[in-house]
């Protein structure tokens, strides 16, 4: 068996909303795959299909070699799920929560207790073990929920937005815990709307939008699709922008982008720090005042923007999907150009006008 998760053409419709629109996915064994996408992209729906909670309208999926519909009962013995909302019982203590899950995995009375204590220890919840979960912090609840998913030592773990809604410190704590799991060799499917999270934890990223995977690869591969380094400068006055573009043109390896609102110029370059010095001396020679300058590698954020025409972490209402069909039509560029994203869009920032249109369309 080469793939831990395989899916082809998954479709799930809720009324007029297409939650999944032909999702294909292949997750190799022993890897961490990040399913990255904005709210309502279909990530949770996909995880629910893989974990047998939902049945797709069409398409098929196999997890650990088992069909998610036909072999569902056997599959449930081999997977662990930690959902978006910590599925722990508030009126039970941490210990009681894990003990109950152990009993339901049929570990027996003693086995369940031992496993519960072991996990409480591992997730730093020993002191809180006999307190009801009601008094736990958000981070503690998530850790307990994750512990619940690990009770039966599953071969395959699904984490659906494990850090959404956590403060920065709790998020870092979760990352550490997940990184340990990864180091121990678990196969893990992680959904997230945080690019940093995917960047940090996942070997492989599948970018999902409007219910389908629109790109996949390692995060470096995805970044390379967008382009290499770029120089970002903020000038003293708007009037200098045109002249700045002229004087930097010889350094550019692609199209230079200008943003008048922020008085910034973005130049795709190669050559690292030397180019930076070169650029500054050119601008100084033309007596153009520079307020800020930086050499940047593209972030996954840029990747996302380039691929979808909109940012990943945009705050949208959950029922935003209903407007989808229309929104698609209003952004003709976003879909059609995807396959050629690499060649046609050397600089992500070049898409600014396009992005503004998308903003307006919302």
């Amino acid at each position: 068996m080469d793939y831990a998760i395989e899916a082809e053409g998954l479709v799930k419709r809720y009324g007029s909303v297409m939650a999944l629109d032909g999702l294909d996915l292949a997750v190799p064994e022993g890897t961490v795959t990040g399913l990255l996408g904005p709210n309502g992209a279909g990530k949770t729906t996909a995880v629910r299909i893989f974990t047998t909670l939902l049945v797709a309208d069409s398409g098929w999926a196999r997890v650990g070699g088992l069909d998610v519909v036909a072999d569902a009962p056997r599959l449930r013995e081999r997977i662990g799920l930690s959902g978006q909302y910590a599925a722990v019982d508030e009126d039970l203590t941490g210990f009681e929560n894990l003990d109950m899950v152990g009993r339901l995995y049929h570990l027996g009375r003693r086995g369940s207790r031992e496993r519960a204590r072991e996990l409480l220890e591992r997730f730093d919840l020993v002191d809180a073990a006999d307190r009801t979960v009601k008094g736990y912090s958000g981070g503690m609840r998530r850790r307990l929920d994750l512990a619940g998913a690990l009770v039966a030592k599953p071969e395959l773990l699904f984490l659906d937005e494990p850090t959404t809604g956590l403060d920065l410190r709790s998020r870092m704590g979760m990352w550490e815990v997940i990184a340990e799991l990864v180091a121990a060799g678990s196969t893990l499917l992680l959904t997230t709307q945080y690019l940093e999270e995917a960047d940090r934890l996942a070997d492989q990223v599948a970018v999902i939008d409007h219910g389908r995977v629109i790109a996949s690869g390692t995060s470096d591969e995805l970044k390379n699709q967008v382009g290499g380094e770029r120089l970002e400068l903020t000038l003293g006055s708007v009037g200098d922008l045109a002249m700045g573009r002229q004087s930097l043109a010889p350094l550019a390896v692609g199209e230079i982008a200008i943003d008048e609102q922020t008085r910034s110029i973005t130049v795709p370059v190669t050559g690292g720090a030397d180019v930076l010095a070169d650029a500054l001396s050119r601008l100084a020679a033309d007596s153009i005042k520079v307020l800020d300058v930086g050499l940047r590698r593209p972030t996954l954020d840029d990747v996302f923007l380039a691929l979808t025409g909109h940012a990943a972490e945009d705050e949208q209402p959950a029922d935003e999907g209903k407007q989808r069909p229309g929104a698609k039509g209003e952004r003709p560029g976003a879909k059609g150009e995807r396959p050629g994203a690499k060649g046609e869009r050397p600089g992500a920032r070049g898409d600014k006008p396009d992005q503004q249109d998308a903003e307006l369309a919302r």
């Binding site: 629910r48 974990t51 047998t52 909670l53 939902l54 009962p73 056997r74 449930r76 013995e77 997977i79 662990g80 799920l81 959902g83 978006q84 909302y85 910590a86 599925a87 722990v88 019982d89 508030e90 009126d91 039970l92 009681e96 109950m100 899950v101 009993r103 339901l104 995995y105 049929h106 009801t132 619940g148």
Partner: protein, 267 residues
């Protein structure tokens, strides 16, 4: 056979969890016993002065009716609890576990039965204080309590189907009120059904609540020999009719609840 035992075992694990919740948050138990006490007192003293029971004191007539109504309210806890578990995502966790699809429902209905046992005990005491008496044998009285609880258990499955269909526990609680009130009032629970106007009388006579109430009255010995014989068939054989209703409700709503549960997903 071993899978059946396992399903029952899983059900008991879930039931234990719900009972721990009752212990830890006793509010629900307190209010589910306080409200029938309130009903007993209100009806016994407010209506009791105006309504004449057929051959017996109104309080004696009333108790079986309040028992049945209370059991029905008690079984709505099943649906409310399930709706809450769905909302909190706990059902997602349960459904990702390798347990029988019926285990969570079996556990839920079982723990609610335990809750109802406690409620019925408190109510009986209240009844005895206001003048209700059991005038039959201990065995018959026991059968009366058993029948009430069995009916409550069957109705828990109806309530489960409701709880699995609504979006939030609040919706369920409001909706269950609208169902339980007419069901328990258009019956022989609080007033004798033979005085009701035409169509209402027919509904009351065939209402399962009436059959169960009449059966409880009969088993507790609360029907006076002087009372007019009911002319509707179900009320002439209330115990048999009650068991038939219980069997039909279980046969329809257990499979329905399980199939609903299979599709229940939070949000």
């Amino acid at each position: 056979m071993s899978t059946l035992w396992q399903a029952l075992g899983d059900g008991m694990v879930v039931a234990k969890r719900n009972l721990i919740k009752i212990k830890r948050v006793p509010d629900l138990l307190v209010f589910s016993t306080l409200s029938p006490i309130m009903f007993v007192l209100l009806f016994a003293y407010v209506f009791g002065s105006a309504i004449k029971g057929p051959g017996v004191s109104y309080r004696e007539f009333l108790m079986a009716g309040i028992f049945t109504q209370t059991m029905l309210f008690g079984s709505t806890i099943t649906g409310g609890g399930l709706a809450m578990d769905i909302q909190k995502g706990i059902v997602d966790r349960f459904r990702s576990l390798p347990i029988a699809r019926s285990a969570v429902l079996v556990g839920r209905t079982t723990s609610d039965l335990v809750n109802n046992v406690l409620v019925i005990a408190v109510m009986s005491l209240t009844g005895l204080i206001v003048g209700w008496r059991i005038r039959s044998s201990a065995l018959e009285a026991l059968a009366g309590f058993g029948l009430l609880l069995l009916f409550a258990y069957a109705f828990s499955w109806v309530s489960a189907v409701g709880g699995l269909m609504v979006r939030t526990p609040e919706v369920f609680n409001n909706a269950s009120f609208i169902v339980v009130f007419p069901l328990t009032f258009v019956a022989n629970t609080f007033v004798p059904s033979h005085n009701l106007p035409g169509p209402l009388k027919v509904v009351a006579e065939w209402n399962p609540i009436s059959a169960v109430t009449q059966a409880a009255r009969q088993l507790f010995g609360n029907i006076s020999p002087a009372a007019p014989k009911p002319d509707a068939l179900p009320l002439q054989h209330p115990v048999l009719t009650s068991f038939l209703w219980i069997a039909v409700i279980l046969a329809v709503f257990v499979p329905l609840a399980v199939s609903r549960y299979k599709k229940a997903v939070s949000r």
